[in-house]
């Protein structure tokens, strides 16, 4: 606990003076999410439904931002083309 902020160091009511952009949720992930660019027809459903804004569009392609993807698989559920796959990285106990 020693590297956590003390009572004095903490602001009144907020954890930190930044938006959620700096609260990286990528380390919650226990799996890997992969997009098959060949199956994708660019409908943008996954981009809209991802609760963390982790799917970005770059040069006409979808790009996973692994700093934020927490592995919830909502994108897989929403993709009408079955273009997104979950690869389990860590075996759960």
């Amino acid at each position: 606990m020693s590297n956590l902020p003390s009572v004095e160091e903490l602001p009144e009511a907020i954890i930190a003076r930044f938006g959620t952009q700096k609260a990286k949720t990528g380390n919650w992930r226990t799996n890997e999410i992969e997009i098959d660019q060949d199956k994708c027809d660019f409908c943008m459903r996954c981009v809209v439904f991802c609760p963390d804004g982790a799917i970005k569009v770059s040069e006409g392609k979808l790009k996973m931002d692994l700093d934020y993807c927490k592995g919830c698989c909502i994108c897989i559920e929403e993709c009408p083309k079955n273009a997104i796959k979950e690869e389990r990285k860590v075996e759960l106990p």
């Binding site: 003390s6 009572v7 903490l10 009144e12 009511a13 907020i14 954890i15 003076r17 938006g19």
Partner: protein, 386 residues
């Protein structure tokens, strides 16, 4: 020039909000708070008060809107009581945890069931652990003055907590008294501007508000509320003194009446103190050393001041207009705790529930119990049909 007006408690509270420059007033009507909203609407309709009065669909939504408005940087006022306050309960904790200095009038009314619209402190007492400042008033003048002081106290950088100021339904809310209404300009200067930096919704300076915390954090944030509440003891006193310099009337954490050399003291809150003060004058004329200690600040509870004020007391009685089955009146517990180790016995009385009258004779009997050292350290119910 200050003007004298005939005002009831609700109108006095409305004046307090107007003179202090509240900007957003989210409300939901409930008896006996409704006339307060009428008065504010009237001020706004006449163009005397530049505030947004927002009608919400419930008391809970009203306080939620108040939290939002305060997070946006506005000075916020609202009012409620009894069922309405309990409906707000969840949001009360959000307000104090987010450290938004909302000022709320609580027009103390019994909590149903059975249904009652009469005075009783059990509504405010249910929220005594919600980390809000809680002040209790005795007169309509004090209601107006406390509303003004509350904005200063709550918005003080050392405090930054929301605050409720309470006055009893009917006895104050619907009773007219001569009230001195201070000049708006003077009040605005006294209250100052609210410029929040600690928490504000600002797209140019984003901050994480109400983030889910792991067990690593909540303890420290709670401790910060404790520090803020401790600081409030000092700030309430300071604001009281400064208010006296500007407006000539003083209110502190406690209101001791002929307590200095008193051997037998009644501690109570709100209007019961007025009756008790009259009885004290009568009994003093008979040579009895009695006094009244009115507790104005219940949160923070001023333990040290109470102990100091009662240094010559032989026995103390508390009169609580509230009760918690399985325990005691709230003031009794606080007073016993404050006087622990002083050797001063505290006797508790429950009285005035749901508007039951507390007469001069009732008060006299309490003093007689103390003087005759009868049934000390027990709880008695005044005027209970046994």
């Amino acid at each position: 020039m200050n003007k004298i007006e005939l005002l009831n408690g609700n109108e006095a509270a409305a004046y307090g909000a107007m003179l202090s420059g509240a900007e957003i007033i989210p409300v939901y009507p409930i008896t006996p708070q409704t006339p307060l909203i009428h008065k504010i609407s009237e001020f706004i309709a006449k163009g005397e008060f530049d505030a947004d009065l927002i009608h919400l669909e419930s008391d809970q939504s009203a306080l939620a809107a108040a939290v939002g408005a305060s997070l946006g940087g506005a000075r916020v006022f609202t009012a409620t009581n009894s069922q309405g306050l309990l409906y707000m309960a969840e949001v009360c904790y959000y307000a104090s945890g987010l450290r938004v200095p909302i000022v709320m009038a609580v027009i103390n009314r019994a909590v149903s069931s059975p249904h009652s619209r009469y005075p009783d402190h059990s509504d405010a007492m249910a929220l005594k652990s919600s980390h809000w400042i809680q002040l209790f008033c005795e007169t309509n003048q004090e209601v107006l003055d406390t509303a003004i002081q509350m904005f200063r106290i709550c918005e003080d950088r050392r405090v930054l907590l929301p605050g409720m100021f309470s006055y009893e339904s009917y006895l104050l809310s619907f009773t007219w008294e001569n009230v001195e209404v201070p000049e708006q300009e003077k009040v605005r200067k006294f209250v100052g501007e609210y410029n929040p930096e600690h928490i504000i919704l600002d797209p140019d300076d984003p901050m994480t508000i109400n983030a889910p915390t792991t067990p690593d954090y909540l303890t420290e944030f709670r401790y910060k509320q404790k520090i803020a509440m401790d600081n409030a003891l000092k700030v309430i006193r300071e604001v009281g003194k400064e208010f006296q310099r500007e407006f000539g009337r003083f209110y502190g954490l406690i209101d001791p009446y002929r307590v200095e050399d008193a051997e037998f003291v009644i501690a109570t809150m709100g209007t019961i103190a007025s009756t008790a003060k009259e009885v004290v004058d009568e009994m003093r004329a008979e040579g009895k050393k009695v006094g009244v200690l009115r507790i104005r600040s219940f949160r923070p509870f001023p333990r040290e001041e109470v102990k100091k004020a009662l240094k010559s007391a032989e026995a103390v009685a508390t009169i609580d207009r509230n009760f918690s089955a399985g325990s005691n009146g709230a003031l009794y517990d606080e007073m016993r705790s404050a006087l622990y180790n002083t050797g001063i016995p505290v006797k508790g009385y429950i009285a005035g529930l749901g508007g039951r009258n507390v007469s001069k004779n009732d008060i006299r009997e309490v003093f007689e119990d103390l003087i005759q050292k009868e049934r000390l350290e027990e709880i008695s119910w005044i005027n209970l049909r046994g």
